[in-house]
C-alpha cells in the first residue's frame, strides 16, 4: 500500500521528543483518590459503596447504568471518606467517590495469573470486558463492550487497531507498543474472537519505527491462526481519526453520517486493546492507565502509569513539579484535548496525557474576519468548507448551516490550526452541532 493516508490534514510540530524515550514508570499512589462516576460517554455509573466502607483495589464501586455506560472500580484500596461533587473533566460538579488509600494492594507489584482465555466463549469474553469497565482509551471514552457488539445485521470483517497516535506531544501508545507487543497481540486476538472474525490491522504512523518493529518482530515470531498485520501510515494529523484511519488502511469510506460498522469495521485504540487483554487474561478491571505527562515546563516529563482518580495536582508533584506557572493545562493532546481550569481535576479513563503549556506557548489572539485564504478547505479531512459554515453560524443563518453538513465535522481542529485569521472554526461548528441537536430533539 503506497498511499497509506487520507485527503487533507496538517503537519503540526510533533514535540514528541520530550517523552518518546521515557519508559513507563508508576506514579505513586495518591493519598486521596477522586474517582468520578462519569468517565465515559453515556450515563454515569451509580455508586454502590457508602462512606466509611473499606474497599479493595479493583473493587466495583460504581455500577454501570443502562446500555451505554460503564462500571467504575476502586483505583486504590482504602476507605471511602466521601461521596461528593467535585470538578471533573466532564462536569463542574461530577459525582466522585473519594477514597483514602490504606491497606494492602492486591495487584500492584504482583504478577497476576494468566488464564487460558482461548477456551472461553465470545460472550464470556465480552462480559469480562464489560465488567472491567473498559472504555475507549484514545480519548473518546465510548464503552468498549458496546463497540465490540455491533448490531447483528452489520457484518464485521476487519478490526483496526489505532496505534497512530497522531496527536502532538503524546507518546503513551508508542511506548506501550514498544514495550508490550505480545500483550497487544494477545489483546487483538481476544477482540477478534469477540467479533468472530480473523483479520486485524494495527495502524501506526511511520514516526514510530520502534513500535512498528516491535510488533512486526513479535508477529513473525509467533504462529497464530488470525491474520494480524501492521500497517505503517503516513505521518499526518488526524491520521488516527476513525474514518481517516479506515480510509488510509482499507480505502473504504465510511458514509457521511455513518459509523465504521457501515463499512464492516470496528476500530479500537491500542491502549484499549491492552486493557481488554488485562481484563480478560488477568481479570483486572480498568483502574489505572498510561498517560504522557509533558510540556517544556514539566521537570520530569515522561510516560507514567497513573491510578484513575489521581488529581492533576498530585501528578504535578510526582513529576517533580513545574519550572514555572503554567498558562494552560490540557487533558489530552494539543489538537483535541480539553483545557482545564483547576488542578483538582482527576485523571480519568479517557485521559491520554497531561500537557502543561507556559504562557508564551499559548496562542490567544483576537480572531479576525475570514480572508478566504482557503486553507481550512484544503486541510479539512471531512471535505467541508469550514469558513463558509462558520460565516453562516456567526451570522446566525442556521438555514444555511444545516445544508452545509455540520455533522460531518469530526472536530479534528485542523481548520482552526491553520487559519491565519485565528478563527476558532471547530468551536463554532461544535456550538452549531449542539444547537441543532437541541432543535431536532424538540
Amino acid at each position: 500500500m503506497a498511499f497509506n493516508t487520507f485527503i487533507g490534514g496538517i503537519h503540526p510540530p510533533e514535540n514528541k521528543h520530550l517523552t518518546e524515550d521515557k519508559a513507563f514508570s508508576n506514579l505513586s499512589i495518591p493519598q486521596l483518590c477522586y474517582i468520578p462516576m462519569q468517565q465515559h460517554v453515556g450515563k454515569p455509573a451509580n455508586p454502590i459503596v457508602e462512606v466509611g466502607d473499606t474497599v479493595r483495589e479493583g473493587q466495583l464501586i460504581g455500577l454501570s447504568d443502562g446500555y451505554i455506560s460503564a462500571n467504575v472500580h476502586a483505583s486504590v484500596p482504602g476507605k471511602v471518606v466521601e461521596i461528593g461533587r467535585y470538578p471533573t473533566l466532564y462536569s463542574k460538579e461530577g459525582v466522585c467517590v473519594v477514597i483514602e488509600a490504606q491497606g494492602a494492594f492486591s495487584t500492584s507489584g504482583k504478577i497476576l495469573d494468566e488464564e487460558q482465555w482461548e477456551s472461553l466463549t465470545a460472550l464470556d469474553l465480552i462480559n469480562r470486558v464489560a465488567e472491567a469497565g473498559i472504555v475507549g482509551l484514545g480519548g473518546a471514552a465510548f464503552p468498549t463492550h458496546v463497540k465490540l457488539q455491533p448490531p447483528r445485521k452489520r457484518q464485521i470483517d476487519t478490526l483496526i487497531v489505532n496505534g497512530s497516535e497522531c496527536e502532538p506531544y503524546l507518546t503513551v501508545d508508542d511506548m506501550l507498543m514498544q514495550t508490550h507487543p505480545s500483550e497487544i497481540i494477545e489483546g487483538v486476538r481476544v477482540a477478534l474472537k469477540i467479533l468472530g472474525i480473523t483479520q486485524a490491522f494495527i495502524g501506526i504512523e511511520k514516526n514510530k519505527p520502534k513500535a512498528i518493529q516491535a510488533l512486526e518482530e513479535r508477529l513473525t515470531a509467533i504462529s497464530i491462526p488470525e491474520k494480524i498485520t501492521v500497517a505503517p501510515l503516513k505521518v499526518k494529523y488526524p491520521q488516527g481519526a476513525e474514518k481517516q484511519l479506515i480510509h488510509s488502511i482499507l480505502k473504504r469510506n465510511v458514509p457521511s453520517g455513518g459509523l465504521p460498522m457501515d463499512v464492516h469495521v470496528v476500530v479500537q485504540n491500542v491502549g484499549t486493546i491492552f486493557a481488554i487483554r488485562e481484563a480478560v487474561v488477568l481479570r483486572k478491571p480498568l483502574f489505572e492507565r498510561f498517560i504522557t505527562v509533558t510540556g517544556e515546563i514539566v521537570k520530569k516529563p515522561g510516560n507514567y502509569k497513573a491510578r484513575l482518580g489521581t488529581r492533576i495536582s498530585d501528578v504535578i508533584e510526582e513529576c517533580g513539579g513545574l519550572t514555572e506557572k503554567p498558562g494552560k493545562i490540557i487533558m489530552g493532546g494539543p489538537m483535541c484535548g480539553i483545557a482545564v481550569d483547576t488542578i483538582e481535576i482527576p485523571v480519568v479513563k479517557g485521559t491520554s496525557g497531561l500537557l502543561f503549556l507556559k504562557n508564551e506557548e499559548i496562542q490567544v489572539s483576537q480572531y479576525r474576519p475570514c480572508i478566504r485564504c482557503g486553507r481550512c478547505v484544503a486541510v479539512c479531512p471531512a471535505g467541508l468548507m469550514p469558513f463558509e459554515l462558520v460565516n453562516a453560524i456567526e451570522k446566525g443563518r442556521y438555514d444555511l448551516v444545516e445544508p452545509s453538513n455540520p455533522f460531518d465535522c469530526i472536530m479534528c481542529g485542523s481548520c482552526a490550526y491553520c487559519c491565519p485569521s485565528k478563527r476558532p472554526l471547530n468551536h463554532f461548528i461544535r456550538m452549531a452541532q449542539e444547537k441543532l441537536h437541541k432543535k431536532h430533539k424538540q
Partner: protein, 358 residues
C-alpha cells in the same frame, strides 16, 4: 498547599486546538510586501525619484484612508496588519511612472474606501482593491493613465536591443520607442502593412535576443511595478516557498497565456510566434498579476479546483483583451472580471464531503 491554589485562576481556558500554525493575517501581508520589494526598488532605480514618490503617496493615502474610515466607523483600527499597505503598493505598481501624484492619492482612497471598506472591510470585498482603484483612475483620467510612460529614446536602455536602425522609417521608430512593449507589439500589423517595415527589420527592431532579454530583466517601459519579470518571479517564488500562495493560480494563469498566445500567433501566420509569446509573458503586467494580484486570497476562489479555473479564466480574458480589445494590456481587467465570477466558481467547486458520492 497554598501555591497550588494560586495556580488555578490564571489558567487559560479555550477550546481546542491549543496549538496553531505560525502564519497570521499580519505576517502574510508583510511577507507579500517583502516579496514585492525587489521589483519595487528596481523600479525606483529605473524610473527615479518620481516613481518613489508615487509609491509613497499611494501607500500613505491607502493607510490613511483605512485608518480614517475605521476610526470614524468606531471599528478597531487595524492598519498595522499591512493589508492597506499592500493595496497602496500594488496600486502604485499598476500606474505609469510619471502619473501625477494626486491621481494615485485619489486612486488609493477609492481602493480602500469604496472597493474595500464599503463592501465590509477586509475579507468581504469582491474586487481586488488595488485593481479597482486602477480601473477607477483609468475611467476618470485615462490620459494620465495611458500616456505617462517613461520615454525611452534611442540613447537609453531600449536602444541596446536595437542593432540596426538605419533604413528604418522614422515613424516606425517612434512607434516602437514611445510605447510599452505590448503597445509596440500591437502596432506590428501596422508596421508591416502601412509603414512597409520588412520582417527582417522587425526582427532587429523588436524580436532580437537582446530585446527579449531586456523584457525579462526589465529594461523596458511600462507601469511602475511591471517591468522586471525576473524580480517579480523571484518574489512569487518566495511566496510559494513560504506557502503563502499556492501554485494553482499563477501556473494556470501564465500557462494559459503561453498556450493561447502561441497558438494564436502560429495560426495567424505571424512571422515570430515564439518571440511574440515571450512578449506577452514577460512584459506587461502578467507576472505582477499572476503572482500578486490574481492570488489575492479575498478575491479568488477557495478551493484548488476553483483556483485552477480562476487562473485559466484570467489567462483567456487577458489574451482576448490584449489581442482584440482596445487596450494593449488586459491583466487588470481580466482579474477584475474574474473576481466577479468567484462566488459562482466557489459554488461549483465545493470539495466532496467525505463519505459521499460525487
Amino acid at each position: 498547599m497554598p501555591q497550588k491554589k494560586s495556580l488555578a485562576p490564571e489558567l487559560v481556558l479555550s477550546s481546542a486546538p491549543h496549538v496553531k500554525a505560525g502564519q497570521s493575517i499580519t505576517s502574510i501581508m508583510w511577507m507579500v510586501v517583502l516579496a514585492l520589494m525587489p521589483a519595487t526598488l528596481y523600479s525606483v532605480y529605473l524610473y527615479g525619484i518620481h516613481a518613489l514618490l508615487v509609491i509613497c503617496v499611494a501607500i500613505i493615502a491607502a493607510v490613511a484612508s483605512e485608518a480614517l474610515y475605521l476610526f470614524l466607523m468606531k471599528k478597531p483600527v487595524t492598519i498595522l496588519d499591512g493589508s492597506a499597505v499592500i493595496t497602496g503598493l500594488l496600486l502604485a505598481m499598476n500606474v505609469p511612472p510619471d502619473v501625477p501624484l494626486w491621481t494615485v492619492g485619489i486612486g488609493s482612497a477609492f481602493a480602500i474606501i469604496i472597493a474595500k471598506q464599503l463592501f465590509g472591510g477586509l475579507g468581504f470585498n469582491i474586487f481586488n482593491p488595488a485593481l479597482a482603484g486602477r480601473a477607477f483612475l483609468m475611467a476618470s483620467w485615462p490620459v494620465y493613465m495611458t500616456t505617462k510612460w517613461h520615454t525611452f529614446t534611442p540613447t537609453n536602455v531600449l536602444s541596446q536591443g536595437i542593432t540596426n536602425i538605419t533604413d528604418m522609417p522614422e515613424q516606425a521608430f517612434d512607434v516602437v520607442t514611445q510605447a510599452t512593449p505590448l503597445g509596440a507589439l500591437k502596432e506590428v500589423p501596422k508596421l508591416l502593412s502601412d509603414l512597409h517595415v520588412l520582417p527582417d527589420m522587425l526582427h532587429n527592431l523588436l524580436f532580437s535576443k537582446e530585446m527579449l532579454k531586456s523584457l525579462f530583466v526589465g529594461n523596458v517601459g511600462g507601469c511602475i511595478g511591471e517591468t522586471s519579470a525576473l524580480l517579480l518571479i523571484l518574489g512569487g517564488l518566495f511566496l510559494l516557498y513560504k506557502r503563502i500562495i499556492t501554485w494553482h493560480v499563477p501556473a494556470m494563469y501564465i500557462g494559459t497565456v503561453v498556450i493561447f498566445m502561441y497558438c494564436y500567433y502560429s495560426l495567424s501566420g505571424f512571422p515570430y510566434p515564439v518571440e511574440a509569446t515571450v512578449y506577452h509573458v514577460f512584459s506587461g503586467g502578467l507576472m505582477l498579476g499572476a503572482f500578486f494580484m490574481a492570488t489575492d486570497m479575498v478575491t479568488s476562489p477557495v478551493t484548488w479546483k476553483g483556483m485552477l479555473i480562476f487562473g485559466a479564466g484570467c489567462g483567456i480574458l487577458t489574451c482576448v483583451i490584449r489581442l482584440w480589445g482596445g487596450y494593449p494590456e488586459g491583466v487588470s481587467y481580466s482579474i477584475l472580471l474574474m473576481n466577479t465570477a468567484v462566488p459562482l466558481i466557489d459554488r461549483y467547486t465545493k470539495p466532496r464531503i467525505f463519505g459521499t458520492r460525487a
